[in-house]
Symmetry: C2
């Protein structure tokens, strides 16, 4: 009898592969390198071979889920620039290798959100939004346990909500004032530098040549006024984005993940306080929480794709 | 063989009842008065009796869909203030009357959006957002043909997205600067009056005692500068809301309905032009279109609930 789910998170550097029970329990996991040569044509075979190398009994596998770094519609990868894939049919290719067509594919941000719902901070919830505060700012919107993929696979692009409509900084997407320009790791550094130029205020970070988001967060925790002002601004706009999301898709929880969220309760409490300033009663019990799975979220969510079918 | 769908749009004044083919074709429709006495306890029986009065063969009915003016979760009406219903189980009550448990219930705004998808402007699309610009501003978000209900049934409350974060007018919900305070019929009048106070500019509407959104729209079409400025502001914020929606749920079309949308291409083109100013490439083919079904949208969408199951 088939008993296990395989969740596969394909990143530009490594592929993470996890074996799960249908309850969301992770039994084992490992990583292999991502071979992006020749338009990524070896990646799926490398994954298949790694399963054989580990003597996995493939007849015991219910199905395989993939999270990939790019837009996906109907299990077809539209484009993964980092991997070299374009209009790439993983179900057909990988399904043939493992002789099992229970292969499901979704975008890595959606899959990370699903992961927190399958085995992390949002376990058992059905309506979940995740914001991944990394170098950029990714997002995943889950409605009734299913990702809101959208027409072009661009559902949940929360980092590109324009939150600073009038004085926004330039974003890579072409717009100005996107949430990503303020609340991602790079956005926090830009916010700090802009505030420093504007306020001409001294900071314990003044002597540093390179300033990271983490350094700013730590300085804020240590009471540095300029860093605190920066994080207060970041939290204000994250709280505003949570308001926008809450009236649009009305999640039960909004999960903050990614490297920036390692600031923990310090950041979380500020964002939650900003969010609670908004009054609309129907969404007032939406909770803002921290992600729990870190870099494993993608594996978990990919495995859940199999159960969602 | 069961062949027909019944779509029922329960409003505070009338109940609209339509008989549909599964293709979305409306065969016949009629209205009855909504009896809101005794906490609306007669409404469902009145609907049942109206079907018998019309000699409908109930064995031919696949199922019944209801749109109701209030939040719904899992086919249970949480609260309809206008009807007197609270935690009201329509499936159980109406299903018993018609001896058919294929009874499905959703919020009127979601159902109107589904209606345009079933037989109106968004026919055949799967990812649709509707904004109903009436006295208030309602919304419905449809992902993969299913309404995004949200945790509390407050998904798609687009009128309560705060779009004017810094100088917003008070909204009934308790917040300031909600889209509803600018782009609903009442919002347009408030925008006009505020601009008039601010700009001290003459208008052909100056001699009017009562000014409606329609009068402002007509004056703008006639070239009245103050009215044109008003509608330009309205279109700017509607375009901004379309941007927010497009990166959050990535619909193929955004449908503008409700009384204000009767301004037609005049308003639509302005909103579409504002929306096109935003650059994010993945959502650039989202189209903004006018609703087609008017007050019948609810019946159509309610009927589709039955097919969605």
């Amino acid at each position: 009898m088939s008993t296990y789910l395989i969740g596969i998170d394909v990143g530009g550097t490594t592929v993470k592969i996890g074996k799960f029970l249908h309850t969301g329990e992770l039994l084992s996991s490992y990583e292999i390198k991502t071979d992006t040569s020749d338009y990524g044509k070896n990646i799926l075979f490398d994954i298949y071979r790694s399963l054989l190398d580990r003597n996995e009994d493939l007849s015991q596998i219910i199905g395989y889920g993939f999270g990939v770094p790019g837009p996906v519609t109907n299990n077809i990868v539209t484009q993964c620039v980092n991997l070299g894939w374009e209009n790439y049919d993983i179900r057909e290719r990988f399904g043939t290798l493992v002789q099992n067509k229970n292969v499901f594919v979704n975008n890595d941000a959606n899959v990370a959100a699903l992961g927190e719902l399958f085995g992390g901070a949002a376990k058992g919830k059905r309506d979940v939004v995740m914001m991944t505060l990394g170098t950029g700012l990714g997002g995943g919107v889950i409605s009734n346990s299913i990702p809101v993929e959208g027409h072009n696979g661009a559902g949940g692009e929360i980092g590109h909500i324009i939150v600073d409509l009038h004085n926004g900084r330039q974003c890579n997407c072409g717009n100005k004032g996107c949430l990503e320009t303020i609340a991602s790791a790079s956005g926090i550094v830009r916010e700090f530098n802009d505030l420093r130029a504007e306020l001409t205020m001294p900071s314990i970070l003044d002597k540093r040549k390179y300033i990271s988001a983490k350094a700013i967060m730590d300085a804020a925790k240590d009471g540095d006024q300029l860093a605190m002002n920066t994080i207060d601004n970041v939290a204000f706009y994250l709280g505003y984005a949570c308001h926008i999301i809450s009236v649009t898709t009305n999640p039960e929880v909004i999960v903050l993940g990614g490297g920036v969220s390692r600031a923990g309760a310090f950041l979380l409490n500020k964002v939650a306080n900003e969010f609670r300033e908004y009054k609309f009663i129907a969404v007032h019990d939406t909770k803002i929480i921290l992600a729990e799975l870190g870099n494993d979220a993608g594996m978990y969510g990919a495995a859940l794709l199999v159960l969602n079918g």
